[in-house]
């Protein structure tokens, strides 16, 4: 502090010498520095948002909670279905009967994507008429590809309460009416765009068990 400022505190004299004449144009150097300060401040402020936005992503614990699930097939009779939980989602294992398998190819004209050509929902080993490694056992994530409800299994053909007429047997989503056949293939002109997701899975050596969450491309 210089002498003048201390003086002004103890006298009643007014010191206007520091005032800028309001009629003068803005000092371009100061303008530049104001701009630079705002730019850096803005960048710093935006950068602060990054950790907050990133904190919304799944936590390490949620990422880690994806352990494979083993299903014993020996107790499953033809026509029976069981549901297991894998990564918080229902996974269906359905043992299809001969009749059910024989009916599948006839449905092709009614389906949106009978050959599972659309990417992302069908591993290479399930890209076939039955969408499975072994035609008898159908394994799929029981989450509708429309908006994530779990479709209801209505395995028998023929209508029922809330089902479309001429129901061929399959899975019917109660939320928005999407329907899937017994290979999880979506019918044409329903809200869901894709066939049901086939999770990675593999059979045990003796074929009596499957492990959901593991295949040649996904190791536990």
């Amino acid at each position: 502090m210089n002498k003048d400022t201390r003086m002004s505190q103890i006298t009643t004299q007014l010191d206007d010498s520091g005032m800028v004449d309001p009629n003068q144009p803005a000092d371009p150097a100061r303008r530049t520095w104001v701009g630079v300060a705002c730019a850096f401040g803005g960048v710093a402020g935006a950068a602060t948002a990054v950790p907050f936005v990133a904190s919304f992503a799944p936590s390490e614990r949620a990422r880690a909670a994806g352990a494979p699930v083993e299903v014993d097939l020996s107790a499953l009779q033809p026509g029976q279905m069981t549901t297991v939980e894998w990564r918080g989602k229902p996974v269906w294992v359905l043992r299809r009967t001969e009749a059910q398998l024989a009916a599948l190819p006839k449905l092709d004209p009614l389906l949106a994507d009978p050959n599972s050509d659309r990417p992302g929902y069908t591993p290479a080993y399930a890209k076939n008429e039955y969408r499975s490694r072994n035609p008898e056992f159908f394994v799929a994530v029981g989450i509708c590809t429309h908006l994530g409800c779990s479709p209801t299994p209505n395995l028998a053909a023929g209508g029922g309460p809330g089902l479309p007429a001429n129901w061929q047997g399959g899975f019917f989503c109660p939320c928005h009416g999407s329907s899937f056949d017994l290979a999880g293939r979506v019918y044409a002109n329903v809200p869901a765009p894709d066939n049901l997701e086939i999770p990675p899975y593999e059979f045990s050596a003796d074929g009596t068990r499957i492990t959901v969450g593991v295949d040649e491309n996904n190791q536990a």
């Binding site: 918080g88 908006l147 989503c173």
Partner: protein, 462 residues
């Protein structure tokens, strides 16, 4: 004393007024806010919305004291509030009934705006703040509905969050980001709790303040749609067709509050579930991530928009594409657009028409649902009629409004029902009517013989 403001008040009030503009704020927004004297029944709903907001905030604070935002504990903590917390059932039913009544009041408040052209110049911002409040309210209601962690909570959240996954390219990642997990889980419950209890209410209250400040800047509209500020003024410069909000409307609104509270209490005490419409039966079953209930539907206030979501199937995108194409051709042919716009806007519409068929119907369902709400914000620029109030519109305009209202109610009903081919067709027709009402408004809004708008408002003292 030097530096003191000169104020009219004395004593404690004077002391405050010299430091905080208490009296002048009260005058500006209450005792010297001049509102048209011909307000009718429809004008209760603004102040009632404020009342419900207060009910929700107060009951919400008390619910948080006993609620546990944990996927393992949430459902039981709600039952604990209902059965063991003294008067917990009342506080909880007030909050759940308040949520539905908030929408009842807000829908009627919006309908009032629609009837009397309250969104027209200079009240565009009042209206836009209002639409923003409506959007916030929907977010608030949706997140709050997850908290009881029942089957409907769970699967409703699963469906709505998955709406975001329909967005091309970023969608699936975005949905995971919102949930904080690969499915709706404890992480989702926790963040929805934080947003429901802190973030959204703060924004909501801020928007309500902005809504009222904007309203008080331009002045209230009225059933005649006549500007009282442009009419005669008294010696003090106040419009003679206006009366001070306080005491006239503050007392008047007490009648509305009394009537509202009778209905409110009747629901809270005698029909808090409202036959499954206010509290859905499936929500009394704890959330089960492996099993969707056989019939799920959102709470009634979302169902009109939900119907439009369901209506948008692959076939229906042909209709949307045709509409967009037709609009592009008409806008190009009639030549009202000038310069680059004459090419640009029709070109964009034709590209959109193609995209309707290229991108999945699932995405367009989401766009139709969101768009049907956002569309309301454009009402000030869609309405081209020479008069504000429905009173001076041609009679057939009133039929259009009636069709719009009935259609909205039918869409609401269809949204509560399980999907079926007949209902799906009906909701597709309903969606077309809803969209056509707004998109064709620039055309039909100016057609017909309008009645003469009076110079001053119609008012007969009782």
């Amino acid at each position: 004393m030097a530096g003191d403001k000169t104020v009219e008040t004395t004593g404690l009030l004077g002391w405050i007024d010299r430091r905080f503009p208490l009296t002048s704020l009260f005058k500006e927004h209450m005792s010297e806010y001049y509102a048209p004297k011909n307000f009718n029944f429809w004008y209760f709903f603004g102040s009632l919305a404020l009342l419900v907001l207060v009910i929700q905030v107060v009951t919400g604070i008390f619910l948080v004291m006993n609620y546990k935002p944990d996927a393992k504990l949430a459902f039981d903590s709600v039952e604990y509030i209902m059965r063991e917390v003294p008067w917990g059932w009342l506080i909880r039913y007030m909050h759940s009934t308040g949520a539905s009544m908030f929408f009842v009041v807000v829908y009627l408040h919006m309908l009032r705006g629609l009837f009397y052209g309250s969104y027209r110049k200079p009240r565009e911002l009042v209206w836009i703040f209002g639409v923003a409040i409506f959007l916030c309210l929907m977010a608030e209601a949706f997140m709050g509905y997850l908290l009881p962690w029942g089957q409907m909570s769970y699967w409703g959240a699963q469906v709505i969050v998955n709406l975001f996954s329909a967005i091309p390219f970023i969608g699936p990642e975005l949905a995971i980001w919102i949930r904080g997990d690969y499915v709706v889980s404890d992480a989702t419950l926790n963040r929805f709790f934080a947003l429901h209890v802190i973030a959204v209410p703060l924004v909501l209250i801020g928007l309500v303040v902005a809504h009222i400040i904007a309203l008080h800047e331009v002045g209230s509209n009225n059933p005649d749609g006549v500007e009282i500020k442009e009419g005669p003024k008294d010696a003090k410069g106040h419009p003679v067709d206006g009366i001070p909000f306080h005491p006239y409307y503050s007392v008047h609104d007490i009648v509305g509050v009394a009537g509202f509270l009778i209905v409110f209490a009747a629901i809270v005490f005698f029909a808090p579930e409202m036959g499954g419409y206010f509290l859905e039966f499936n929500n009394f079953i704890p959330a089960d991530p492996l099993k969707t209930p056989p019939h799920i539907a959102p709470v009634w206030y979302f169902t009109p928009f939900y119907s439009m979501l369901r209506a948008t199937t692959a076939d229906f995108t042909w209709v949307l594409a045709a509409g967009s194409l037709l609009a592009g051709i008409v806008l190009f042919a009639n030549g009202k657009l000038k310069g680059v716009w004459r090419i640009a806007i029709p070109a964009v519409l034709i590209i959109v028409a193609v995209l309707f068929r290229v991108i999945d119907a699932k995405f367009w369902g989401v766009v139709v649902m969101g768009g049907s709400v956002v569309l309301l914000g454009f009402l000030p620029w869609l309405d081209s009629s020479p008069v504000k109030s429905i009173r001076y519109r041609p009679t057939w305009h009133k039929y259009l409004y009636a069709i719009f209202i009935v259609n909205f109610l039918i869409l609401g009903y269809l949204g509560t029902q399980p999907p079926s081919p007949v209902f799906n067709l009906m909701s597709q027709i309903g969606t077309v009517i809803y969209l056509a009402f707004f998109f064709l408004m620039p055309i039909w809004g100016r057609l017909g013989t309008f009645k003469q708008v009076p110079e001053r408002i119609n008012f007969k003292a009782h």
